[in-house]
Subunit: 458 residues, 2 copies
């Protein structure tokens, strides 16, 4: 098979304009948000309909061509980067919200719908789409499904899988599989919906999802922020907020290195003795009272400074510090963004382990955490000029991953395994888990053409 | 192989007292709560440890003997009934709560733990185990996991799968698989935990579960009940409560036939013009105000009678009517209990379809519904003297199942497929779904020894 021939036959089965082979264009579909160098793709299919996906997958099966499904390419683990000699299958143009039922609090959406667009459509009916990864203004529902995306709100409202009721999937051979249902409960057959959520494009191509919407809070959330002289006190404050039943709708932690990066950039007046900042929100009808209660708990736990918002503008300023975190780090260098998650009670130990790894390997690591979930994003900063992280960064990352697993945690809370975490995968999965996972992969993708080399693979 | 020989070899690998072959004893482990006549079992293994289960499954694989795992036998679909020539594997004696961490809001429990015992253990720490099937005082966590059990609270707090973070499973060949994690988020590998929840003992034997606990409400719930002259008005009231964002912690509907059965038994002073009753609870700190709001909505939707509790005793009286439902029906005859679930907006159509089927086939059907979830339990009553439902009951059930599927619903919301719903399974799953499901079954149980004939099977 020569690539040229095979793409000719693909062009014949797809409507005009669906296939692009111009390298200037295909290159823009070859990467995600990591530093990873993609392989050279045969071309990009810009699918507009399920039938486009069916035709593409039939062709790919016939010609044994690897396919990498992708949304907006905002991934942080290499899950959507091009595979050498493979086809990129973009779902970004499948942007229909096929249905939105306020009565049943569900929507049926195509994979290219931007997360925030679905949320806005729901808000018009007093509802919301709860999962809100930081990329929510640019990432697609399809990508969110592929990685089981979390976000800031998921401490209260759950992750993508919790909001997914059913899927329409095109299997590698072009057959269409409908999983799940439109109801909130159901136990007919194995949970194929849950299996596809978080499968990182390795089992099939999601062409529609039936998702659950939730009541949107009536008022904007009340916000409180606090600075702590030690990490342990901040972690104790997190535990105190949870134990008091405050049910925050957001509970974020920023470590000293992150705060310093933000302060160096935007001069937020950081006290040099601050080891960590917590930002919390409550979106209940009595949110202001809950925020005050959280502020009192922060104070009791030894906060050196506590600020509660009394206006939406003040809330925006407090939460704005969190929003600056990633950009502040990117100014310092190239970033390896990690995503370990530990039981909440192990948060201080995990942060200590990250700090120890940073010192031992002389690597700058800035950490923000979805503290209420125990989900940490240590960002390993390295020289912009390097094509990939230097050995000391990988050595530090290796320590961080092993520490997370030792603490009863996981390699990835919400970003996926992709390419970046494959070498640690077996440490978490174990040999029996690995064998079973590969068996499942084989059921759906016996030819191994779905996103080869990513996540679960031989 | 003669059964006697093979059990000798099983006796040798298990500690004394684990295997029972006395038919008087094995018979008590052969049934669930359905009318189904079980097959004759070789014997019962009363497992006390994971190693007992490992030894049993190794033996079963070596000798190709079918195994039916079971908890308390409270199932309503035939999932735990004995298979001819098979072994019953009771997990009811594995009753350890291995760990309960208030800080991480998780527990690690063995499958024989009674649902209510886990809930009580959690409540000692201000937490609760949310899933509460009606059988919660007698059913086990293992059985709840096998059927992805729901319950009354799940309208607010989710079903069993939503509370399950990780599992320890013994595979059919005796290997031990650990799935999931101790963290609330995680996306390493395919969601094997979700796959096992609801798999009805067809993939392996769950020997421990890491479950999520939730904050228990501070006060007892506030309760409101209302009677409606038409089903449509009751259904409108359900929609109004949801649309108003009341987030009830319980929202139950009883139809006329159920109310009549209760009234005939206990004389609750039923108005003969009542077509349906709704019972709702709110467990928020302002629950009394929410209950009053729901009462006002019931009134606006045309309720003929509304009662709100102002004391826990009054609340118990209102909710007591719901608790009498099943027993009242069992007094009328043998029961085929069904479990369809439809999108909430289709609730009135589903109830109408049930009423039409009852009339057309001259069958008494009494329905209660977890109305907030769209989950209905039509109970088909037939003569106590019959060994199984007569043809007109099956004909009516067939109509009910097809109506549920036509309305975008599912055969089973929380009871499982078991034996009773197998003949309708393909209508919901479709041929591609069926093939994929069988492929997954094959990965875990290539010899087909796990609970053969139940749920997903060739």
């Amino acid at each position: 098979m020569t690539p040229a021939t095979s793409l000719d036959s693909l062009l014949r089965v797809l409507p005009e304009g669906r296939v692009v082979t111009d390298p200037d264009v295909t290159d823009s579909y070859a990467r995600d948000r990591t530093f990873l160098t993609p392989g050279r793709a045969l071309g990009v299919v810009l699918a507009r309909t399920r039938d486009d996906v069916v035709a593409t997958m039939r062709w790919a099966t016939e010609h044994r061509v690897p396919v990498v499904p992708r949304g907006a390419g905002t991934g942080l683990a290499g899950g959507a980067t091009a595979v050498e000699g493979g086809l990129l299958l973009s779902l970004a143009r499948m942007t229909d919200i096929r249905e939105l039922s306020p009565a049943d609090e569900i929507a049926v959406v195509e994979p290219g719908v931007i997360n925030a667009d679905l949320d806005r459509a729901a808000r018009a009916h007093g509802l919301m789409y709860a999962p809100d990864p930081s990329s929510y203004e640019i990432s697609t529902i399809g990508g969110n499904l592929a990685t089981n995306a979390g976000g800031l709100r998921c401490v209260k409202y759950g992750v993508t899988r919790d909001s997914t009721l059913g899927l329409e999937v095109v299997l590698p051979d072009g057959r269409v599989l409908n999983t799940g249902r439109r109801t909130v409960k159901g136990v007919t057959g194995y949970d194929l919906t849950g299996l596809f959520v978080g499968s990182e494009g390795t089992l099939g191509v999601i062409t529609a999802a039936t998702v659950r919407l939730q009541r949107a809070p009536a008022a904007p959330p009340a916000t409180v922020a606090a600075e702590f002289p030690t990490l342990r006190q901040a972690a104790e404050a997190v535990a105190a907020v949870i134990a008091a039943g405050c049910r925050p709708s957001l509970l974020e932690l920023l470590d000293r290195a992150t705060l310093k990066a933000i302060d160096d950039w935007r001069n937020i007046g950081l006290d040099p003795d601050t080891a960590a900042m917590l930002i919390a929100q409550s979106d209940t009808p009595d949110g202001q009272a809950v925020a005050e209660r959280m502020a009192a708990l922060f104070d009791e736990c030894g906060a050196s400074f506590v600020a509660a918002s009394s206006t939406p503008q003040e809330a925006d300023e407090l939460i704005g510090v969190r929003r600056m975190a990633y950009e502040a780090k990117e100014r310092l260098g190239a970033c390896l963004v990690e995503d370990v998650c530990v039981p909440r009670s192990r948060l201080p130990e995990m942060i200590s382990a990250i700090e120890a790894a940073a010192v031992r390997h002389d690597v700058l690591i800035c950490t923000v955490a979805h503290a209420g979930d125990g989900n940490l994003h240590p960002v390993f900063v390295f020289d912009h000029g390097l094509p990939e992280p230097p050995p000391q960064v990988w050595a530090a990352a290796d320590e961080v991953f092993r520490a997370a697993l030792d603490l009863g945690g996981t390699l990835t809370g919400e970003h996926g395994v992709g390419l970046l975490k494959r070498r640690w995968l077996d440490l978490e999965t174990g040999p029996v888990g690995r064998e079973v996972q590969l068996g499942i992969k084989q059921v759906f993708d016996p030819l191994g053409i779905m996103n080869p080399g990513k996540a679960i693979q031989n």
